[in-house]
Every structure is written in structure tokens, then in C-alpha cells.
Symmetry: C2
Subunit: 375 residues, 2 copies
């Protein structure tokens, strides 16, 4: 894997364009993006921390990650250029005050860097009121500037190390698709099949893998999927499996649709038709192409689907650029996008998805699993 | 299962004591507690919503749940006395603005209920800055009052329907413990064992189960556990399994420690000793007893452990009352507490945990799995 690249320097552009002096990040996605720190979120956030982590940055001068001490063990992936300041989040010996302890660290950063009357860029959707309220009261001259839109644009073009992280997560999605092809059989429940696919992914990483997934069988595929249930798979059922695993804070994404047993001629044709739309779009990808044109191309070919044609993937499973009719964003090298055309009929649905990197001259498919309808 | 009880009326007490006119809840735990709405969080929150849900309440007059429309399918558990207002969170046809759409619903509620100069109770740890900032600018006469501590106390005593929800979640923990006893064997990895236990829980519910878990083997048990890894279980290993599953927004919790093969005499004695501490504390539970005394009793019996003696369980996996030396909260009927004494030695550790309800005269153990060391 390539060397970790410091993305902190990229904040200089936003510092100038938004006229801010410093940044305070509280979204898990941005904290991951700028610091490398990944919070393991599969069972929700801990009652012993205010937010998983706070990243404060004065570009060129100071970058500090403020972390609950019960998260210290998860901090191995933090960029070595970033200082980690732990705060006491919980002890059985006295009453915990994680919010107060975290605020004290934030205050210290502000005073140390003389930000008492600075403009500070924040993500207003994720910043908790306790932080803004306390700081507004204590530092009434600080100006708070929302920089979420600028961060969104920044994230859409990936660094080499990010491509490698996404490649690793895409491989997990591949492993899941192989597992479905291998294990799906008459009498098995959707949840049992899901469990085997998830297990196979986790045997690759050696740790738990957060996994968003549609795994539907039979008529359930006609509405595009849904979470797996106790429904038993039957011979003749189609299985739609859309796996979106998270590995170290970066997401993969792929979707296949297969049949248990023999498909009808109509199903077989539909599978090929959806694949055709997908690969027509992939072949069209290159720098200078508008996101919207990919969606229009696929939609025109197969007659539409009631969802987006795709989306960016990175530290969020859906991010910019969205592959939709209203988004004329121009593709540039190292954007990573998932394309997922589909046809939903009354009794079944077929969706096929690849994760693709925009290259200097075209594209590279990051999901290596070849869509396969029949075994 | 017993009828859903409206907990909204309980807000009258806080309304009077904190002198507030209305409430705005944004934490998943409080939204679940007061409205019944459960957000499925296992893969993090959606980029198409500001927060999973916002609950606004004027006690006796209006209770409205503001929900992203992509969450509408998850709203079946909402208390019928609560109005559900959906906002457009994402469409592939035009650019999404979930935060703006959600704010518009919040504004409408404020105007409709004439709260322009009211005092509104909020949870300042979870309320996003965008909500507070927008409202502060548009309604400068609203006073924002943090009521998190009062809500915490309210939640610690459970209603009959909550006891049933927790009982169901405790059953899932039992199923996990049975699975470990049944499947653990030489050569299996911790992750494979975890996968089977998780699968068995999900076969009971018929849907995915968020699951916090320690599952450690061998010397890994000596530090109290940790997430499962690719480490292979060997004959003679102890396995510490602490399962905290979430079912419909309520958590269960239990821990067992077992041995694969034959234990040493010292291990066998230690298992019995920890079980003795646990049951001494359970037998002491009744209304009027202080939380701290349970911790002290267990700690004195087995000589201490480097964590709390237990904690409340409900819509959070750790909540009040904490079973720690510094917490003199007096137990009252229908508190639900987990007790988890442990002994950690150099080469192994044993922790045993039950989930217990305080009754009028004593206690009822909600986790039915009998701790078992050997097969």
C-alpha cells in the first residue's frame, strides 16, 4: 500500500476561498479523510464520548486530533503529522464528563493558536450544539463558517493512497459476490446467505466489517432489494446482492444479480441488457465527461430506473459526484464512482454495479468480480 | 407483547422542573424512548438525512416526529399518538437538501405551536449546530435549555413495554451464548464463531441485529476481551463472549466465559468465584439499595476488576444507573441493570454477566442463559 498522503495541506485552498483561519471537523467522514482516524461504528457511538473525534487544524501550523481515551486503541491509522490529544472519557473511579473533557481540549487548541477572534470553518450539519454554544459564549468574536460544500468537492478526487483503500474495500465486495454465487441454494434463508458472505469478507480482513447490503430473493428483487430476512430462497429465484462494505473508513460497492437454478429467457436477456448499459457507461468514462451524461446514457438504453445511476464513493458510501440527470460535474482523473443501472419488472429485478476509477484517458474498474447470472 | 405506553406524558415533570414549554430531541436514544421510532444504525447514518429523526413535543398538545422520507419504511414502530412528518431527503430528479427540508419542518412546528419566544428543552450533546444556528437566527427569543441529565434519570426506570423489549433483546444475548457453547472448537477462528452466534440471533429476529461484542480466546481473555479476530481457537483456550445485541432500539447484555476442552483446577475455581460474586450482588438487589453497594460487594468478594461493576441498559447499552463506587443512586422497581464482575489473571480472564430487573421485593434475571464453563 502506498504511503499515507497528508491531505491537511489541501485545506489551504478553502482557507483562502472561504477566508477562514482554521478548521474544526466533527464528521466521521472528514476526520477520516484528513487525519486517517477511523472510528468503528457498527454498533453506534459510545455514550462515553461527545463525538467519535474532533480534528482541529490551522493549515501549516497545527493539526490536532482530539480523541476519547477509550478510542486510543483505534488510533493506529492516524497520520503521524497529526498530534493526538486524548481526553478522559470514562473511568469507573469517578463520574464521567466526556463532553466537558473534550471541550477543554478544544479550548486549549483555540487559545494556543490564538484563534479567539478567528474565522473557523466547520461542518454545521455535524457539529454538536454543546461545542458551538460553549465556544460562542466563551469566544464571542470567533466567526463560524460552514465549509461542508467545499469539503465535499475536495473529497471527490482521490489521492493514490485513497484509491488503494477503496481498492481493498472493493475487493471485500468481490468476496461477498463470490460467496453468494458459491453458497446460494434452495432452502437457505437470505439471512443465512448474508451471514456467509459477511463471514467471508471478515476472514479477509481479520476484523469486523461494517456492511450495508441489499440481499433479496425472488419477487423481493423487483423493488430493488432490501435488507436480508428469514425468507427461504427457492429454486428459480433471482438473488440481488448489493454489498457496500467499509474497510478502515473507506467503502467498496458492487451489485450482482444471479439465479438459483434456471432462468427464463426473458431474465437472461434482461441481465445482458443491464450489463450492456453498465459497460456502455463505463466505456464512456473519461476526464471531461459530465456525470449527468452517464446517467442519461444508461437510462436511455434500458428505459429508466427509479433511482440514481450511481454516486461517488470514498469515506462516505454516497458522495460526490452523484451520477444523476441534474449533476453536470465534469469528471476528472481519480474520481471514484459506482454505476448501478437496473431493470425492475413485476416479478423480478436485475441491478448490476461496478466501482470505477476515472483515469487520465478513460477508466479502471475497481471491482474485479465479473457479473455472473448463472452458475 | 404488552401495549406500547406513551412516554410523552412523562415530560410534564421536566417541563415544570426545568421551566420549559417544549422539547426538541435529536439523539437516537431519546427519539426511540419517546416515540418508538428505531433507526437502523449498523452501517452508520445516511448522507441523505440531517439526523436520523427529530422529535418535537409540546406536552399535552403536540408531538411530531420529523423523518427523512427514505426512513418512512422504518417508521412502523412509531407511537400512534405521534404525528409523523416526512421531508424529502433524496430524489434522483433534483439536488437533495435534506438539512434544509428538515429545518423547514422544525420551523413549521415552532410557528404552529407559537414557540417563537418559548423555552425549549434540548440535548445539547446531540443537537447539530445547523439546527441551533438557524433557529437562533430566526427565533432569537427562544431560550435553549439542556435537559439531558433529567432525561437520563427518566429513562433509568422502565415501563412494562420496555421491560418486554429488553427481555426480547436479552433472549438474543442468550441465543449467542448458546451458540458459542455449541459451536466453539479447536481450529475455528474467533470471527467464524462470532459469525455463527450472530447468525443464530438473526435467525430469531428475521432481520439484521446490531451487535456489540467482545469475543476473545486464550490469553486474549486476560485483558477482558475485545473484538473477534482471525485468531484460531485452540483446545484448552478459554473463550470470553460478551454479547450486547440491539433489537428494535433496546439492548440486551450478557457475558459468559467457557473453556474448549479441559480447564485447569485454578480456572474452574475462578469461574465459580466470579459466579459467586455475581449472584451475591443479584441477591442483594431490591428497592432502596444503592448502586454503589453492589459494586463494592462484588469488588470486595473477588478483589477488584479494572472496570465498572455494571450499568443500566435500555435504549443505550450503557446508561443510568451505573454500578460504580461513586454512584449512590437508590434502586427502584423496574430499573434494569447489567452486573459484570470479573477476574483477570496473567494468562486468562473470566467475566460473567447477567441482565437483571429490579422488582418490588428483589430482582428478576432477564438473561436466561445459565453461565456454563465446561460442556
Amino acid at each position: 500500500m502506498e504511503k499515507r498522503i497528508s491531505r491537511i495541506e489541501k485545506l489551504n485552498g478553502i482557507k483562502n476561498s472561504k477566508k477562514v483561519d482554521a478548521f474544526l471537523f466533527t464528521s466521521a467522514s472528514s476526520v477520516k479523510y484528513f487525519s486517517g482516524y477511523f472510528f468503528y461504528f457498527e454498533y453506534g457511538s459510545s455514550p462515553f464520548q461527545l463525538v467519535p473525534a474532533v480534528l482541529m487544524v490551522v493549515p501549516g501550523l497545527d493539526a490536532t486530533l482530539i480523541l476519547a481515551d477509550n478510542e486510543a486503541g483505534q488510533s493506529s491509522s492516524v497520520d503521524p503529522d497529526i498530534e493526538v490529544h486524548l481526553y478522559e472519557s470514562y473511568t469507573y473511579e469517578k463520574a464521567p464528563d466526556p463532553a466537558g473533557a473534550c471541550m477543554e481540549r478544544i479550548r486549549t487548541f483555540i487559545r494556543k493558536n490564538k484563534l479567539e477572534s478567528a474565522a473557523i470553518g466547520v461542518e454545521i450539519n455535524s457539529l454538536p450544539f454543546i461545542v458551538s454554544k460553549t465556544l460562542q459564549e466563551e469566544f464571542p468574536f470567533i466567526e463560524w463558517v460552514d465549509i461542508a460544500a467545499e469539503i465535499d468537492v475536495l473529497k471527490s478526487v482521490k489521492d493514490p493512497d485513497e484509491i488503494e483503500f477503496i481498492r481493498a474495500a472493493a475487493r471485500l465486495a468481490d468476496v461477498g459476490q463470490q460467496a453468494v454465487l458459491k453458497y446460494a441454494c434452495d432452502g437457505m434463508t437470505e439471512l443465512e446467505l448474508f451471514s456467509l458472505a459477511h463471514r467471508d469478507m471478515e476472514s479477509v480482513t481479520g476484523y469486523r466489517v461494517p456492511l450495508m447490503a441489499d440481499l433479496s430473493s425472488g419477487v423481493g428483487t423487483s423493488s430493488g432489494g432490501g435488507m436480508p430476512t428469514n425468507k427461504k430462497i427457492k429454486t428459480g429465484d433471482l438473488i440481488l446482492s448489493d454489498f457496500t462494505p467499509c474497510m478502515n473508513g473507506y467503502w467498496g460497492d458492487s451489485c450482482n444479480t444471479m439465479v438459483v437454478g434456471e432462468p427464463t429467457a426473458d431474465q437472461r436477456r434482461t441481465f445482458l441488457f443491464v450489463g450492456e448499459a453498465l459497460h456502455m457507461a463505463i466505456e464512456k468514462i473519461k476526464p471531461g465527461v459530465q456525470a449527468s451524461s452517464l446517467d442519461r446514457l444508461m437510462r436511455a438504453h434500458i428505459g429508466g430506473y427509479p433511482h440514481h445511476g450511481g454516486h461517488g464513493v470514498g469515506t462516505l458510501y454516497h458522495e460526490s459526484p452523484r451520477i444523476v440527470d441534474y449533476n453536470d460535474t465534469v469528471l476528472v482523473p481519480d474520481m471514484v464512482i459506482a454505476l448501478e443501472p437496473a431493470i425492475y419488472k413485476e416479478s423480478y429485478g436485475i441491478r448490476l454495479e461496478h466501482l470505477v476509477r476515472v483515469t487520465k484517458t478513460g477508466s479502471e474498474i475497481l471491482t474485479k468480480f465479473q457479473h455472473q447470472f448463472e452458475r
